[in-house]
Symmetry: none
Subunit: 239 residues, 2 copies
């Protein structure tokens, strides 16, 4: 199963509110980065990956909608807006700008968590516990180009039904690429997944795993069509 936690970016200028969110969500098993201004948020957005962004629309000296568009321009990161104003039109505008959900303050921490989880669920994150009592692991299997990646069973199945053996590291790399498909994933993120270690520009181990994976799943490893290298960024799974 997935080893690491979903990583959130919280953009909220009020320090008290921000720390309340952070504490509650951290206790719920999520990892959090905090930003208090639009500028700070941009710095984090440029330097690390986030599985979801919680954004306060009422930042001082900042148009929250612009920030949404910037996030969408870079990647398809899910966004949950929180706002102090209860104007329905503002909600429509926020959602149409690309947000995934919109909460009006005040709200229960539980509702924030429930809505964040609902969005993450759609992005391939397992429900932490209990709630998926209906036992159908539809969210545990991803497919790409006819291949089936069975997360719970840790199995990779080819388009013709054969089970292809992959090592642990290879599987984790592939699973992360699949989860974020079609966005590219940085070598740094991929390495952090397979081994708790810092990444240096000279570290080629991810490239080796990619190379080995390609030999196993690409029709012609010389012309990769499934695992695409993105220069200066990392690797992506073609949709």
């Amino acid at each position: 199963m997935k080893a690491s936690k979903p990583h959130l970016l919280i953009v909220e200028d009020d320090e008290v509110i921000r720390s309340v969110y952070t504490q509650y969500l951290t206790e719920a098993g999520l990892s959090v980065t905090e930003a208090s201004t639009g500028a700070e948020a941009r710095t984090y957005l440029a330097s690390e990956h986030h599985d979801l962004v919680i954004l306060d629309l009422g930042l001082p000296n900042e148009d929250g909608l612009d920030l949404i568009r910037e996030i969408r321009k870079r990647a398809n990161t899910p966004i949950v807006i929180v706002s102090g104003r209860s104007d329905p039109i503002e909600r429509v505008v926020g959602l149409e700008a690309g947000a995934d959900d919109f909460l009006v303050k005040p709200f229960l921490n539980r509702e924030l968590l429930a809505r964040v989880r609902a969005v993450l669920r759609r992005r391939g994150w397992e429900q932490p516990s209990g709630a998926t009592a209906n036992g159908v692991p539809t969210s545990g299997v991803t497919t790409f180009q006819g291949w089936r990646l069975d997360l719970p069973a840790r199995r990779l199945e080819s388009p013709i039904g054969d089970t292809v053996h992959v090592t642990t590291a290879e599987f984790q790399v592939l699973a992360e690429l699949a989860r974020r498909m079609p966005e590219p994933v940085s070598r740094r993120d991929l390495l952090a997944l397979v081994h708790q270690r810092e990444w240096s520009p000279a570290d080629r181990s991810i490239d080796i795993h990619i190379s080995n994976l390609r030999r196993k799943i690409e029709v012609d490893p010389k012309v990769p069509r499934i695992i695409i290298g993105v220069r200066n960024v990392g690797y992506a799974l073609a949709p």
Copy 2:
């Protein structure tokens, strides 16, 4: 981008409200099936595919949460709940049961539509506007002078059908020229696309890419007929 319309199932016992939803969403370009009871909903769920279900929690003789779990058991169809009660706990329970969003009546039709679209967007349905992922427009195939530029596949095809290999930077330059055809595009704009770096008048890298592109696609690179240089402005693609 998918071709046909998203198909919705609306489960709502109040006939007036139901027809209001149906009319509004149909006019917005969605196709709709209506169900007034849980039993009717089950029939439709068993016999046709839905891209999203709008479910009223307050059905008579029916526990809406059970219906949610049944839907989740069959498939991973997105669910948007609407409810007359404004109890926050009910929202949390609904979302944790597997719903993707939760609206409390009364609400604007526009907000329902915006939330439905936000969920569909996550499921891969394109918004009307030309969203971009990775800086390259995700929609469509452009053609110029017999050449085919396949944006999603990142492929360039010659008039006789051969695939011509182009590098990432070359492809992005060509894609932008194609998008703005036949208007000329400045070097500054083009450079901003391939690499977020400032442009100085001495920067010739765009010229190099143009030169390399011409060698690949022009009949006679000495007399360019496809990529036209516009003095003091930039480059344009001939229509």
